[in-house]
Amino acid sequence: MTVTSATGTNRIVRPRRVVRSGEGKWAWLLVGVVAAVLLVWEAAVSWLQLVPAAFLPPPTEIIAAFVRLLGEPEFWQAFVYSMQNLLIGLALAIVVGVVVGLAVGWSPVLRFTVAPFLWLLYSTPKVALAPLFILILGLGNESKIALVFLLAVFPIILNTMEGAVTVSPSLVSAGRVFGVNGVYLGWKVIFPATLPYSLSGIQRGAALGFTGEVLGEFLGGTGGLGHLLEFAAYQFMMAEAIALVIVMVIIANLTLWLISTLRRRLAPWYDDRKIVGAS
């Protein structure tokens, strides 16, 4: 199929997967199931009063709390606080993770000496270090940023490393044949070839980093969504607490969606990589 693109050039475009029409049906089924669950929930709490509303508020109350929340400046302050820490921590983790991952993946010496420690650290439950971070770095932003960084950096390093190791040897040969060497080889061949791997590491890192941010705010904080949630829970404001959890779910999923969109834009060859090349 040939399509004329915005720049006026003809591009060959593979037709989209045909499964899409079937996926639509599943989406409707999902909506139906969610609606049914909400309905049963509402009925059980509000009408049949099987569960006390103080412990499990009905969906209508949660929605009301959610809307109320969006109107409060306090909520937006907390939102900005959390997102700021998350973005700073994540940015640091991306820079360090990609650079370290490329270096370790590309250099056999580093791979044999450093990689085992990276795996060891990766499998360590790093949340256990959270209280330590709060003690050392205080209750402010620094301890949260450090936690985000620590949780996010390992999946980024390890995924980038994995990607750098699996770069096709013939791409490297091609680079060398056409005079691309050293740092240039890293920049022009290894880095772009590894990018899709890095991005899926960043995706996992972002999810873990967000957990780190909320956890940091729980353990000792002066602001942020986690702090707000903790406060609501202690005040026994269940509807507000659940509404905040929903906010977090939305943030986490938007982040994941954003990064996978980015991956499709930056590395469109990744999804059809089986078609690329001979093997």
Partner: protein, 277 residues
């Protein structure tokens, strides 16, 4: 029928563009602690403008042989001279066409071809755009400049690989089974086009293949490799007139004679290779 297949005469090394002397490559196998000999005692001279096909069963070291000439693999014995200079690494006088195309999937056709020029001085000024465009036209890919490799068929991807190799105008073109991953019909078309292209540009070519027909159709000389260890078994002058059309050559008695001879030569090799594996 009396055989007219004689070993080709040795060229004086002075007049040859590529000169391979006592070449050997061996690897240390960490697992067994033994040395694996890929190729051993290879001598070959290639004249400027000559089209040499290298024929052999898979695993006979013919790709290793080419990689040494490309400067990608260091020899453990002997040496390779290109225009009298020993090869110490890749250089702009040699370009490679890879079996699996080895295109950069994040670059368009135009930018992939540009890759062949990028590290050379030619990228200053605007002249390089014309050179890239010219190379793309030469391989018949006009109109696909902005396509990505994944949007192209295997044959078209290899045309990009070919354009990338010739864009910097190297003296020597090293082709490692370039049509090995292309479907049969496309292969036939591309063989003819490669022959035409090489005839027009006068490049010296080392073309690796495991297809007997391909080796005869394209080569001025055929270097037959044997395996375990990889070494030259014989060198044959094809002595067929150009241009060679795939159709007409099939009935040429010389073609049939060469084919039978190479069949016999390779069959022994292939059986030996299969048994030792």
């Amino acid at each position: 029928m009396t055989t007219t297949i004689e070993p080709a005469e040795d060229e004086a090394s002075v007049s040859s563009l590529i000169s391979v002397r006592g070449l050997g490559v061996s690897y240390d196998v960490a697992r067994t602690g033994k040395k694996l000999v890929a190729i051993e005692g290879v001598d070959l001279d290639v004249r400027e403008g000559e089209f040499v096909t290298v024929l052999g069963p898979s695993g006979c070291g013919k790709t290793t042989f080419m990689n040494v000439i490309a400067g990608l693999v260091k020899p453990s014995a002997g040496q390779v001279l290109v225009a009298g200079e020993p090869v110490t690494g890749p250089g702009p006088d040699r370009a490679v066409v890879f079996q699996d195309y080895a295109l950069l999937p994040w670059r368009t056709v135009f930018d992939n071809v540009k890759f062949g020029l990028e590290m050379q001085k030619g990228l200053k000024g605007d002249g390089w755009r014309d050179r890239v465009q010219e190379a793309i036209e030469l391989v018949g890919l006009s109109g696909f400049e902005h396509s990505y490799p994944r949007e192209l068929s295997g044959g078209m991807q290899q045309r990009v690989g070919l354009a990338r190799a010739i864009v910097a105008e190297p003296r020597i073109l090293l082709m490692d089974e370039p049509l090995g991953a292309v479907d049969a019909l496309t292969r036939e078309v591309m063989r003819a086009e490669i022959e035409k292209l090489i005839a027009a540009t006068g490049k010296t070519v080392l073309f690796i293949t495991h297809s007997i027909e391909e080796a005869i159709l394209l080569g001025d000389r055929i270097v037959v490799f044997k395996s375990h260890p990889g070494a030259i078994k014989e060198v044959i002058e094809t002595g067929l007139a150009r241009p060679r059309s795939e159709r007409s050559i099939q009935s040429d008695p010389r073609f049939l004679e060469l084919r039978d001879h190479l069949w016999d030569a390779l069959q022994g090799e292939a059986t030996a290779a299969a048994v030792s594996k």
